[in-house]
Symmetry: C2
Subunit: 305 residues, 2 copies
């Protein structure tokens, strides 16, 4: 196969785009996809201050580098989860990456805040991945709002988005279906959230990270029973293999036809939010679930002595 | 495994129902599922005259027998497609079945009407299965309306419905999503349509047909490139295997949460129907597509000499 752009030997084959690229031209394809995502979905401009959530994995670091190369005003945010033998490695990759590329970075430590994730695992009965995800989203949003960023960007790729959409669709969960998408507009207490990699598959992002020589944190989290939605991702791998382009079609048709129907319905039945009396974050209860979990863990710890 | 009902050795295992049944008790499970479908979805009563579409396959014959055993007023309708070496066999199975069980039967011949399906294959450029399906639905509805039936029942099972719903969802086809379901209410020119087997899988219906000793027509149609939605059915087999009950959950959650959102949206944008000037069937054009296809084929035949 020859490179679609320069006719040299292709190194990356992309059946869903009816094309293939050599190592030199591939990053240009990647850049174009990110540009298209930002432009079509009106994600942000070069005037906006963008906070990028950095886990240390391929997606978040690829996103950060690409946005920097496109000249955007980006600041990294890493949350140190405090998980032994894991979090320090992830943090080191993020710090080294930002130092190498001269990028500003904030690090938020769950332990310093009083709730390292091992304590969640020990004291909270709910699945640790769900609670950890909730904590991270809470702090991403809180820090973006407090520090006056215009937008929070995350490295979710097409496979993440399709697997999540599929899970929501299997349950026909209209609340989730009404606001899943590459852009979640700002609202009272919430910063705008964007996913500039939503047009790119995991494979496409991994290729970019590899070709750009990004050192990534690729160890699985020791607490995860497997990556989220693994089964759904396998199934979608099969669908995409049978019908290249199916993932992006499914996701884009959802955005065009599905989401508006659910959004209209939810508008009439959605919950009313008010600031949490503890931390000020928007919540449908008096005290938000993040503050309630932190308090419950503190109490469990105190009872233990 | 023991029979959930009588504790004898079970012959049919049903993980999605956390149960299993012996050959004697299994039909009682089947009956209950059909009763539940009819009652919960308010499909019809013992006062209604029901026209049952009979292809000769396991689903339609199982449905016909079960409705008769439940005491409903059923009449069969078979469409003889006029396909050599196939249609006569299917028709014979249907006729023998109705004779054996003392059931009234109408047979409609596509050849006598002027459009045997081989002519569709020969003269119409569109996929023959799509046109054949359209023709059958047209005549099912027309005959039900003309002969004053209250309802048309078809043998679609849960696998058919889930595969179709999945195909519609992959495209987020809101027009189809707004009216897919086990009951399509009557409207101007359209009889009410119901699918009393929608809670039962292909496997469950096949077991019933086998245990009841129904002689079925099981040859694949010589014109079909494979059963419809084969790929989707395999995929859903995998999902159901991983998570028994997933198919019925997906379908029922759609009916409860998904469909209303699409129906509300479509209400504002749906097409206006008027009687076809040729045959009187409701259509959004002046002449319905069935009449147009018949005329086009007649013209092609005439040109050939």
């Amino acid at each position: 196969m020859k490179c679609t752009r320069c006719r040299k030997t292709a190194h990356v084959s992309l059946p869903s785009h009816h094309s293939g690229f050599c190592a030199d031209c591939y990053p240009l394809f990647f850049t174009k996809q990110v540009e298209t995502a930002i432009r079509r979905e009106k994600m942000f401009t070069h005037e906006d201050r963008i906070l990028v959530a950095l886990s240390g994995g391929k997606d978040s670091l690829a996103l950060m580098l690409e946005l920097k190369l496109q000249g955007y005003d980006v600041t990294g945010l890493h949350i140190d989860l405090g998980i032994p033998n894991s979090s320090e490695k992830a943090r080191r990759k993020v710090e080294d990456f930002c130092t190498l590329h001269g990028l500003p970075l904030r690090v938020f430590e769950m332990a310093a805040w009083g709730l390292p994730i091992p304590d969640v695992k020990k004291y909270v009965k709910r699945p640790v991945c769900a609670v950890c995800g909730k904590m991270k989203r809470h702090h991403f949003n809180r820090i973006a709002v407090e520090e006056g960023f215009d937008v929070l960007a995350t490295g979710h790729n097409l496979d993440d988005e399709v697997a999540r959409l599929f899970a929501n669709t299997l349950r026909w969960d209209t609340a989730y279906l009404s606001d899943q998408g590459p852009v979640l507009p700002a609202s009272e207490g919430f910063v705008r959230k964007v996913k500039p990699l939503f047009r790119l598959s995991e494979y496409e992002t991994a290729n970019y990270a590899f070709l750009k020589g990004i050192e990534i944190h690729s160890d699985p989290c020791p607490y995860a029973g497997g990556a989220s939605f693994t089964g759904h991702k396998e199934l979608w791998g099969e669908l995409e293999h049978r019908s290249p382009g199916q993932k992006l079609q499914f996701y884009q048709a959802f955005l065009k036809n599905g989401k508006p129907a659910f959004a209209r319905q939810e508008k009439e039945t959605g919950a009313v939010l008010a600031p949490c009396t503890e931390c000020g974050s928007p919540t449908s209860a008096e005290i938000c679930s993040v503050c309630r979990i932190r308090a419950a863990v503190a109490e469990s710890r105190a009872q233990e002595g």
